[in-house]
Structure formats: structure tokens, C-alpha cells
Assembly symmetry: C2
Homo-oligomer: 360 residues x 2
């Protein structure tokens, strides 16, 4: 296990924001990114949290992949649709601002879909779908990403891990928050197995000929070189429904890269010195246009309780609903959040380098 | 292998239509159902084709589960949304008529979502998503269904096989048509293994304690009694991403049963003597509101070719795109379609009984 420390949430957000301001990001935008990153840590998704600040964001600003003062632009707008260019700015900023507008429009017209291109890595997909919850809307958030996943019967990684997130409000239960990559397992998990020298299950990834492999090092090399790669949900075969995971990953890229007119497949961040042209899809649906809000929330509660209260498989103690584990972690980490000590040490170095006070 | 015969498509559709007319279905509506059922056979999905005519439709009309002269009704309508009651009529009729309206509205306003309750089994989900293709729209079709699938770590079947279908137009390539149940394998496939006395993979279903079983008979009994059941895509464990398949199945029921205000989970067709209250979700998205139609179709072609032309895994000869196999089967079965002899014999008996000429 990595050594971890507990950091006050407020101080961590201020630090992340201050670092971004030093990289020519406006205060307003830096606050958005800090909020998205720290929320990921609070929800227990540290792989998409502040540990990515330097590798994914500040270094990409320095390298010209992310344009700090870009302006996002609405290319086309109708009462229920938005086509947005992110201007190669920070993915979180473009996504939060787009989703805010999607929510406004869905409150007016009961439905809105936005398609975004010229964006960048946006962190956890669930942040944006969850924005809809406080407005009593169902939220949807999809993104494409650098290719790491092989299609069924393929030898080369051609699809990103392209996540799907949908959030739906409940009344007294936690909302439903699905936030799932369309690969069986994330690369970060395979890296953990590599460090621990443990074999991985055969449905996580392939060797460089597209054959499932239990060697984490081989699978990581395959994914990064795109000769082989991660396997979609369902693994390598049709018998285990791998073609369904492949279909979902392709679907996400159709609704993001293809529909928005940005990069798709291996063209996402093709030239590492240039903007990545990542694409997103956001939507909000108003239950008021259908069964009505009160009844929708009551029915969500009823369904969630049915699932949770139902009999458990032999040897299992609990049935989870999607988002529940993360809400529990968030509740426990409202004031202080667990961060890897290694990341905190990196932040202290960065603070010294940039002349930013590190209050933790 | 079952004995099969080749039947002229036109004659088969006329027969199905005539049978339905004898069950008090109007000519117009009977033609819709015949079209949906025979299309499933032509696309190679015989499990959802004419073999279900008696068991799923005419017997349910006789039993009062499906109301022959019901009128569907638009409960609520806004420029981009529709809330529809199917009046407990035939699922295909309600779905085709709703999807036609969804398409009209999406052509006017670039986007439309419909939520339908008080419907019945609608056949292949892909029929409705594909209706959008000839109008150059992206089509979406979801439905809930009788509970057969266990949630992750659960012992009881609480979710239907709840399929997801999305269709997106291409220019010269076949369109993308994803049409996938959210269980790993369908019950019908497990029945085939039972007849052939073959063990099934451990990620298809569980015994009556929720533990994966390789015995097809045990799994079928579990699913039907709902003590145990089929496994979602990804199987029984989180390690194999079973919670993702579970999440997708639950999501489909949220967007259908919960949102429409009809039955969800085990309440779908709870009392076998009464209407099933099946729910659907339909949507259409207009690429013109985003990158534009021509560019969308060109990009689809490019992507599909990239996938198909990419290197194959060792030992594999072809990479498929979703819908491709079915389009090839459909093309080969435009005039004559393969039907199980047993089904044709059943039709001959039914023809005699109802006084309908059986021209095959």
C-alpha cells in the first residue's frame, strides 16, 4: 500500500487553483478544475484526482497541448442542442460550462444534448452527469480518449476506454450514478498488479498479437504501443460478450468524436505536441416531461431499496447501487481527503518552485 | 440442428398479418407487426421472429394481456419530448407509431426523446433504432422486460435482459447498428446448450443461491423461478466488470420503466393474466445540429473501414462492425427467409384452425 496523508479539502482546492493560476489559467477557471479534481479524490477515484494535476494538466499547458486562454465557442445552437468547440482549453472548464448551459436549456425545454470538440481530458465523467442532479434532471456524460482498447478479434488498440456516465436523482436514497469505462479494467489497475508482480485475469488485456495475456507487463506494453491492448467489457470472445463492450466503446466514440467533428479512435491526441481534440457528449433529460418529478424520485427510491434489500448471493453481504460506494466515501471525506504522500511531496516541490504557499 | 425451410418473405408477412387480423387486429397494425417479426428472421434473429407469433402475441391477445383494439395516447408532448401510453396494445404497433413521431419531431427540432408505458414485448430493439436511418438520424431504442438477470452479488433475478440499441447512418458502409441485451447470454442460447447437454460458461448464469453454474438446466430453472438467474455482461464479479453490465441493465429500466411511469423490475408482467405494462425509450438525434450530415456519414465510413481493415488477432480472420452480420443475412434473405420447419408446421395448423390460406 502507498503511504497516504489526510489533507483539508479547502486547502487542497486552493493549492490546485493557485498552481493553475500560475499557468495562466483565470481564477474562475482554476476553481472549476480544482473542484473537479478534488471531488474525484473525495469520491475515492484518486486515479482521476489531483495526482493528475502535473502530468495531465500543467505539463500539457506548458507543452502547448492545452491552451490556457482559449475561449470556448458555441458553433451551433437550437432550443435543445448545442455544438461546442472547447478551443483546446482545459477539458474540465469546457465541460462544466457546457453542462451548465445544457442544464439551463433542459430546464426550459425538458431536453438538451451537447456535442463538444477541441477539448481535452475532462477527469471523471460522473462529475458532469452529477451536475444535473441538483436541478432534478437526469444527466449524461460521455467522452472519448486515447486509444488503448482492441476491438473484438482485433490486434491493434483502436478505441479509448471511452466512459459512460448517467446520473438519475432519487428522493431519500443516494442518486444512481453510473460511471463506467467500456474496458473491463483500467490501465492503472493493471499497473498495480505489475508492481505487485501478480498475474491479471485473461479478460483484461492482450499480448501484441491480440491474444489474452495474464502478464500485466505484456498487457501494458501492448496497450501503450497499440500492438494489442486492453480488452472491452466482456473480454476477447463473443461467447463472453466482448463484442458488446466493443460496441459500447465504439458507440461512445460515435456520439463524441464522430458527431462533434473532432478526433476519434487513434486520432485522439495523435501528435503529442499538439492539442488532443478530445470530444464529449452531454445530455440532460427532465422527468417532468414524462412521469413527473415527484413520482420519478419515489420510484427511484423504491427500485434502489428493492435491489439493496433483495437476497444476497451465498457468501455476499451487500448489493450496491451505482454511485453508492462513492457517495459514502465522499461523505466521509467532506472536510479532509486522503491523498498519496508521494503526490503531496510533489506538490510541496511544485509550491516551492512556483512560490506558492503549501498550507498542508 | 433444427430442420429449416425457405419461405417467400411476402407470403410469410401476409400470413402473419392474416393471423393477427383474425385476432381483431386492424389491417394497418397487423402489417406493422408482420414487418417487425419477419425483419427479425431476415436479419438472423429468429429468436425474436415469427416463431414468437403464437406464444408471445396471439396467445396474449386471447388471454387479455394484449388489448387488440387499444388506442395509444400521447399523454404529454413538448417540441422535443413525448410521453406515450401504449394502451396495452401490441408493442410493435405502439413502438413503430411512436418512433415515427419521434423521427418527425427530430427532423423539425433536431432531437426527440419518447418514453412509453403500458406497452408489450416489442420484438427486436434494433427495428426501431434503425427506422431513424432512412431519415439520416441517429436512432436509440431501449426496452425493459421480465426479470431474468441477477444484480451483482444478488441471489434473485430483478432485472430484465433490457436491451440497448443505437443505429447511426454511414455513407457507403453498412450503418452501425448496436442491438445488445445487457445479460451476457440470452436464455434461448442456454436452452440450446441444455438440449445438446453441453456445459455453459460460468459467466452466463447462476444456481438458486446466486453462485455461477455451468449446468444449463440449473440456470434456466433459476432464471424462471427468479431464485438465481442470468448474469449481466461481465459475469458475477466486479473483477470481470459484472457491475457494469448490472449498471447498464438498471440504467435501461430507469430510462424505461421508472421514467415512463410503467412497470419496472419484477413488476413487468407480474400477473400473467393482466397487461404487462412493458416500457420503452426511443430517441432520435440529428447530426445536422452538430458536425453536419455529410461529414457525419463520411466520418462513419472512415471509422468503420479503420476498424475492419485493422490487423486481426492471431487466428482471427475478420473484425465485424455492429449490425454488419445482420445486414449480410438480410441481403441474402430479401426474397426468401429461413424458418424452422417446426414453426412452419405450427403455422399450417393455425391456418387450418383459423381458415387462413397458407401459401407456403
Amino acid at each position: 500500500m502507498d503511504e497516504v496523508v489526510k489533507i483539508p479539502v479547502k486547502a487542497l482546492k486552493e493549492f490546485v487553483s493557485a498552481v493553475l493560476i500560475k499557468h495562466d489559467i483565470s481564477r474562475e477557471n482554476s476553481v472549476i478544475v480544482a473542484e473537479v479534481l478534488v471531488t474525484a479524490d473525495q469520491r475515492g477515484v484518486s486515479s482521476h484526482g489531483v495526482q493528475r494535476l502535473i502530468q495531465y494538466y500543467t505539463s500539457r499547458i506548458k507543452n502547448g497541448v492545452i491552451i490556457p486562454n482559449s475561449r470556448m465557442e458555441i458553433i451551433k445552437e437550437t432550443p435543445c442542442t448545442l455544438h461546442v468547440s472547447g478551443g483546446d482549453g482545459l477539458g474540465q472548464v469546457t465541460s462544466v460550462k457546457t453542462m451548465r448551459r445544457v442544464i439551463e436549456k433542459a430546464k426550459e425545454n425538458h431536453l438538451c444534448v451537447a456535442s463538444v470538440f477541441h477539448s481535452n481530458h475532462y477527469g471523471i465523467a460522473g462529475y458532469y452527469s452529477m451536475m444535473a442532479l441538483e436541478h432534478d434532471l437526469i444527466g449524461i456524460s460521455l467522452t472519448n480518449s486515447s486509444a488503448l482498447v482492441v476491438p473484438t478479434f482485433g490486434r491493434n488498440a483502436l478505441l479509448g476506454t471511452n466512459p459512460i456516465s448517467v446520473a438519475a436523482p432519487a428522493r431519500t436514497e443516494w442518486p444512481f450514478v453510473l460511471d463506467m469505462a467500456t474496458a473491463t479494467a483500467p490501465l492503472g489497475k493493471i499497473e498495480l498488479y505489475k508492481r505487485e508482480k501478480k498475474p491479471i485475469p485473461l479478460y483484461w488485456g492482450t499480448d501484441n498479437e491480440g491474444i489474452p495475456s495474464s502478464d500485466p507487463e505484456i498487457v501494458i506494453d501492448s496497450a501503450i504501443s497499440r500492438k494489442g491492448g486492453l480488452l472491452p467489457i466482456g473480454g476477447a470472445d463473443e461467447e463472453s460478450a466482448g463484442h458488446k463492450g466493443y460496441g459500447l466503446g465504439f458507440l461512445v466514440d460515435i456520439l463524441t468524436g464522430v458527431l462533434a467533428g473532432g478526433a476519434f479512435s487513434i486520432n485522439v491526441w495523435k501528435d503529442k505536441t499538439k492539442p488532443a481534440n478530445v470530444c464529449h457528449f452531454f445530455a440532460a433529460i427532465d422527468p417532468k416531461a414524462f412521469i413527473g418529478l415527484d413520482e420519478f424520485k419515489d420510484r427511484m427510491d423504491e427500485y434502489i431499496r428493492m435491489l439493496k434489500d433483495s437476497s444476497k448471493a451465498r457468501g455476499k453481504e451487500r448489493i450496491y447501487v451505482h454511485g453508492e460506494k462513492e457517495y459514502e466515501l465522499f461523505s466521509a471525506q467532506k472536510e479532509k481527503v486522503t491523498i498519496m504522500k508521494q503526490v503531496v511531496d510533489e506538490f510541496r516541490d511544485m509550491g516551492r518552485e512556483l512560490g506558492i504557499d503549501v498550507p498542508f
